[in-house]
């Protein structure tokens, strides 16, 4: 099975790109590479996917920490805590904590899951609508209760949900606030909402603060303090692992759910201990650990049951099927799982090795004037909005949504916006679950 390693390495390479550039997630990368991936066999595809899916989680947290720009929506907590640590001159600890946590999280769930391989075929019980609804409610409650102002958090969550319901639902073709506009029927674009309400306000907030964490280079041999700080907070990391793992089974949301629930829980615990301050290392580590544990959990339904739960997996599944390799079901064996498992270990080792030196190169940014750097970031992000929109023939729409929402983002810039963003992300899932549950309960 050593012959699969090159495919994992290629996946790692593309994972670095997908994690680094906001708006270009795993799905978009797979679509771009589609013709080339057709030459892969089923197992080679899995090896490639493991590489890309795991690595994005490592790299996404670096851009979130340094630039306050999430490469993936699962890196949203890192934008808050990681970037705040960076501003305190502790960016190195933020990046190392996220990387070590991600590594530990992946390995712990791998070991635990390996012990339960024969029982994995019962995984579908987890997809009960009741359980899925409980998870979403739990995350929302945690995010609201861990906020400094719960009333504002509730209002923001409601606004996020309302924004998330704009458009036409595929489940019943019902449309809300579309005003006969074809663009609005497709809903508000995620990239415009996240950048206008979450990222831009943070960058604008920092406009008059001139800082660059020049201690971010952690590749020069001073590893012990980083390991020690992580070890001192290993409880947060393990909590994130367990919680993030189970949340990772959520269809369509997976790692986003994992990082947010782990973050919400840890932040709530830290507040209870009266230890929470913005730039909280345990909350960051918990979110990033949960993120990677969720990334592994997300793979399980695909490889065990043959059921893809996120769009990128659906594409992978179809690619593998077209090569005659049907994932899951009768083809799933303990031997197959062990092949996947060793690739995951290799991927995580490589991603860890990449994530640390990667920070060193980002450190070179300190040579650029901070205001110029911020301006470049804002321009690049605007270009991302236009570019991602152009992929759907919606550049103007993406830009318009961004411009319309930006004043709201600036207005609320002093508040914690995660409840709003999270509610926006889960709005359609909430609607779907509400419809299924009302039918099940004959309401």
């Amino acid at each position: 099975m050593i012959d699969l390693i090159p495919y994992t390495l290629i996946g790692v390479g593309f994972g670095v790109i997908a994690g680094f550039v906001p708006g270009i997630g795993i799905f978009a990368t797979l679509m771009i590479l589609y013709p080339w991936l057709l030459d892969f066999t089923g197992l080679q595809l899995i090896a490639f996917y493991i590489g890309i899916a795991s690595t994005t989680q490592y790299i996404g947290s670096i851009t979130a920490t340094v630039f306050a720009v999430p490469g993936e929506s699962s890196s949203l907590p890192s934008v808050i805590e990681g970037h705040a640590l960076y501003k305190k001159g502790q960016g190195g600890f933020a990046i190392s904590g996220a990387a070590i946590g991600s590594f530990v999280g992946s390995l712990v769930v791998l070991v635990i899951v390996s012990l339960f391989v024969p029982s994995l075929e019962n995984l579908y019980y987890f997809y009960s609508s009741y359980i899925q609804a409980c998870i979403i409610i739990l995350v929302l409650v945690l995010l609201i209760f861990s906020s400094s102002n719960r009333l504002i958090a509730c209002v923001l969550a409601f606004i996020g949900y309302t924004l998330g319901t704009i458009g036409c639902r595929s489940i019943d073709d019902a449309c809300f606030a579309t005003f006969n506009n074809a663009d609005l029927t497709t809903g508000l674009p995620l990239v415009s909402v996240v950048l206008s309400l979450y990222v831009f306000p943070i960058v604008i907030n920092n406009w008059n603060v001139n800082f660059i964490d020049t201690n971010i280079d952690i590749s020069t041999g001073k590893i012990i303090p980083h390991l020690k700080r992580y070890w001192d907070n290993i409880g947060a990391s393990l909590r994130g692992t367990i919680v993030g793992f189970f949340a990772g089974f959520t269809p369509g949301l997976s790692t986003t759910m994992s990082s947010n629930i782990s973050y919400g829980l840890e932040k709530w615990i830290q507040r209870r201990k009266k230890k929470y301050k913005l730039g909280n290392y345990p909350s960051l580590v918990s979110a990033e650990t949960g993120n990677n544990a969720g990334s592994f959990a997300c793979l399980l339904p695909l490889i065990v049951l043959g059921i893809p739960i996120v769009p990128s997996e659906a594409l992978l599944y179809e690619l593998a099927s077209s090569r005659g390799f049907i994932l899951g079901g009768e083809n799933f064996t303990a031997e197959f799982f062990s092949n996947v498992a060793y690739l995951l270990v290799i991927t995580n080792l490589i991603a860890l090795a990449i994530a640390w030196p990667f920070a060193k190169y980002i450190c070179y940014m300190s040579k650029i004037n901070y205001k110029i750097l911020q301006t470049i970031i804002l321009i690049v992000l605007l270009a991302v909005v236009v570019y991602v929109g152009s992929q759907f023939f919606q550049s103007l729409y993406y830009l318009s949504v961004f411009i319309v929402l930006l004043p709201i983002g600036i207005l609320f810039r002093k508040y914690e916006m995660l409840p709003l963003i999270f509610s926006f992300l889960v709005a359609s899932r909430i609607d779907v679950l509400a419809i299924s549950l009302s039918d099940l309960l004959s309401l």
Partner: protein
């Protein structure tokens, strides 16, 4: 140094000449469905094969309304797109002429027959006849269809709606519901170790699954569905030529050919005569209009 520069220029010129000579025509491939559904999988396969002949640009339209607007924006360019026949007949958003099966734009259709299925060793046809079951489904027309089935059998069942066929399948697998009803049976066949087809809407049955009209007979008991493949911006002769290209892809081990070989429960009309394909598309759309 001069030599090196001249060599580079010469190499660039040589590289450019053939690319100009063989410049490909632009073809937009537009997915009007979701990114994680079967439409995306099929069109991605087509895009991969057609790339050797066209300069393909793949567009995710995220629904009929947006697809319709995009098609208007690029009305002079060549486009290849897909749409659900049942939506063209029943949904206001998909009623635009671009989605109606007329001979100036239809290329082929996928004909598919829905299926009622359950868990192996669990509820079966006799339970369905008794009523009192929870049955999962995933589209608005299927709800009406299930209501007709209940009336025909004279029983009452609880109908539970899910977002997509994956949701229906998971609900049956985890025991949240007793039975499921989906239009694309591919997923059920891929879970044949755990799930079993009980009744098919195909009047001839489907791979050993008996036809529904043997148990209940009502208007719609044999209603199949079509997903239609259309083109825009093609003259009549270009359309016929393009249809031949598509038919060849289905006959060979192309990416599309392999996809259909592995997908149980789909009948594609690309290799049929053009008249038969147009008739099938029209018939299967019109049957849902009442």
């Amino acid at each position: 140094m001069k030599k090196l520069i001249l060599s580079v220029i010469a190499a660039l010129m040589l590289a450019t000449i053939p690319s100009v000579a063989t410049a490909k025509e632009k073809l937009y491939i537009i997915n009007s469905g979701s990114t994680n559904g079967t439409f995306n999988a099929i069109l991605s396969a087509y895009a991969s094969d057609l790339k050797t002949m066209y300069d393909v640009e793949y567009v995710q339209a995220k629904g009929c309304s947006k697809a319709s607007v995009i098609l208007k924006k690029i009305k002079k360019a060549k486009a290849f797109y897909i749409s659900q026949g049942i939506k063209a007949a029943t949904s206001d958003k998909c009623s635009a002429s671009a989605f109606q099966p007329t001979q100036d734009k239809i290329i082929a259709s996928d004909i598919k027959f829905g299926m009622i299925f359950g868990r192996i060793g669990d509820k079966g046809i006799s339970d369905l006849k008794k009523g009192g079951n929870k049955i999962a489904y995933n589209t608005n027309p299927n709800k009406d269809w299930l209501a007709k089935l209940d009336r025909s059998l004279g029983v009452t069942n609880t109908h539970v709606k899910y977002k997509n066929s994956t949701g229906v399948m998971l609900a049956v697998l985890n025991g949240e519901v007793d039975l499921g009803f989906i239009n694309s049976t591919k997923k059920v066949w891929q879970q044949k170790g755990k799930l079993v087809g009980l009744l098919s809407l195909n009047p001839e049955g489907d791979n050993g699954v008996p036809p529904l009209n043997g148990v209940a007979n009502f208007n719609g008991a044999e209603k199949g569905q079509v997903d239609n493949f259309f083109v825009q911006g093609f003259s009549k002769s270009e359309l016929i030529k393009f249809r031949k290209i598509i038919a060849n892809l289905h006959k060979t081990d192309s990416t599309v050919g392999l996809w259909y070989k592995k997908a149980v429960g789909y009948v594609n009309t690309a290799t049929w005569s053009r008249q038969d394909a147009i008739k099938a598309a029209k018939d299967y759309v019109n049957v849902w209009r009442d």
